[in-house]
Symmetry: C2
Subunit: 254 residues, 2 copies
DNA sequence: TCCCACGTTCGTGCAGTGCGAACGCGCGAT
DNA sequence: ATCGCGCGTTCGCACTGCACGAACGTGGGA
């Protein structure tokens, strides 16, 4: 798999994707606004919007364009194709209920962790993540659990592409340290996040894999005040690995 | 609003959107397959896929490309921006529970009804609709309820664009008949679907609107065997209009 | 009433797109 | 083990169709 990024690309398409990305950030924008933001002429943007609108990827309300409801269809389809989705929701709901905290599931894609589902227990913290949200893997328990089960060269590719951005004093920003951590995680079977992304936030995660491939990972997140001692080091890891196993087994029959 | 479709469009973008649409139908496809399906050269498709992949709109697994998990993010964002969404889900859950049937909410876009949410009561029929699904409006109670509250010229535009496709003997395929029906619906406040799309399936719908604009519509659907007599002609219409009013009122404060 | 800013249209030049041939590779059949 | 088919990939070339920017029509605010 030569993931070289030297391939010839289509610039007109790049412009359109930039437009979509812009409309994802802003809730509606006009032609002039988009044109100045992307450094293109108004005429150019107009043509792109006409194409997007005819294909119903965008809606025009008066003078502003918005992303259309088609993305609901696309999102739904993509989710439906994840065969493990139903197994995951069921198991995560059980897990979050049993420990009262926030349980999440993510899958790797393009070298990042993509959140798929979350289930909040009674005492659960609020999390900024929502389905589809993409995060770097090196600073998440979820992410490290997944990296630990990828070939080393794939991990190196990911580091090359995304770097090891630092967020807190605990973030792992050195490749060698990361590889050692991944080794530990692989042997132990689960991963911790000791406030490596956000101060005060701790997590435990376990990988979900088939015989030879990593599928994703599940995690439990909570405040440092509750996540310590035996609860954090023993009880949660055991719960999370058990749930991951349940998912692995059940997903083989769907 | 000159909805003329004569605008100059960007063909390269059209190709890319065709690719996305193809990947929406099939679950994964290779370069050669896509190229032959869209009558383009392999080299061309390759360039488009590279662009889509770099922007993470598509994932490459070995030799097959799939739609990426980004569409979850897009779908989620689009849904979050519908301010009435929470109000609708709450009210529809109540409604479906109270009558035991299938309750649905849809919004108009590009001249079609787009399903946003459905809630199944105990006895509810299975429906093929899922969020994002787009249907012609003239043969749905939901659709007619929405059309009834649009300016006549807008309705004419929609007929021009989509026609009045017939599905059953009861489908309204004549514009004049449709306009009469819409008039009746406007006066009465709710719409019926008397097996106009699918034999044996009947529905009642009420519009959800602000002071001057139609937002969407809610409906209750069920089998012709249960949907008859006073229940169908009186009780359900009253329930559905009441729910629509609740949504209208509650959505003003969000 | 005027004027600015918006979306829209269109003719033009040339960048960039699409093509098709050629290449390397993996897999299955022989 | 070998061959050959079919896959994804690359690249040079011709020409298309993209992006530009000026010009136009329009609607809303001062």
């Amino acid at each position: 798999m030569a993931t070289h990024d030297g391939s010839r690309t289509v610039e007109a398409v790049q412009t359109t994707l930039d437009i979509i990305e812009l409309l994802l950030e802003r809730d509606g924008a006009g032609i002039t606004e988009i044109a100045s933001e992307l450094d293109r002429s108004k005429g150019t943007i107009h043509g792109h919007m006409a194409t997007l609108s005819q294909n119903e990827f965008v809606v025009k309300e008066g003078e502003t364009y918005r992303l259309s409801l088609r993305y609901l269809e696309l999102g739904e389809k993509v989710r439906d194709r994840l065969q493990i989705y139903d197994v995951v929701t069921e198991e995560l709901d059980d897990l979050s209920a049993s420990c009262g905290e926030l349980a999440q599931f993510a899958m790797p894609e393009h070298g990042r962790a993509v959140y798929i589902y979350k289930s909040a227990g009674e005492k659960a913290i609020q999390s900024a993540s929502s389905p589809g949200k993409r995060e770097y893997m090196h600073c998440l328990s979820l992410g490290k659990a997944m990296l630990a089960h990828m070939p080393r060269e794939r991990v190196e590719e990911i580091i090359d592409r995304h770097g090891l951005v630092g967020y807190t004093d605990n973030t792992i920003t050195d490749p060698d340290t990361l590889f050692e951590e991944l080794e530990t995680i692989r042997e132990r079977g689960y991963a911790f996040d000791r406030e490596e992304k956000i101060e005060g936030l701790r997590c435990v995660a376990a990988p979900v894999k088939t015989k030879e491939e990593i599928i994703g990972a599940i995690s439990i997140s909570g405040p440092a005040s509750r996540f310590e001692g035996e609860f954090y080091e023993e009880e949660l890891p055991s719960k999370v690995t058990r749930s991951a196993n349940v998912i692995e087994i059940n997903s083989q029959f769907s």
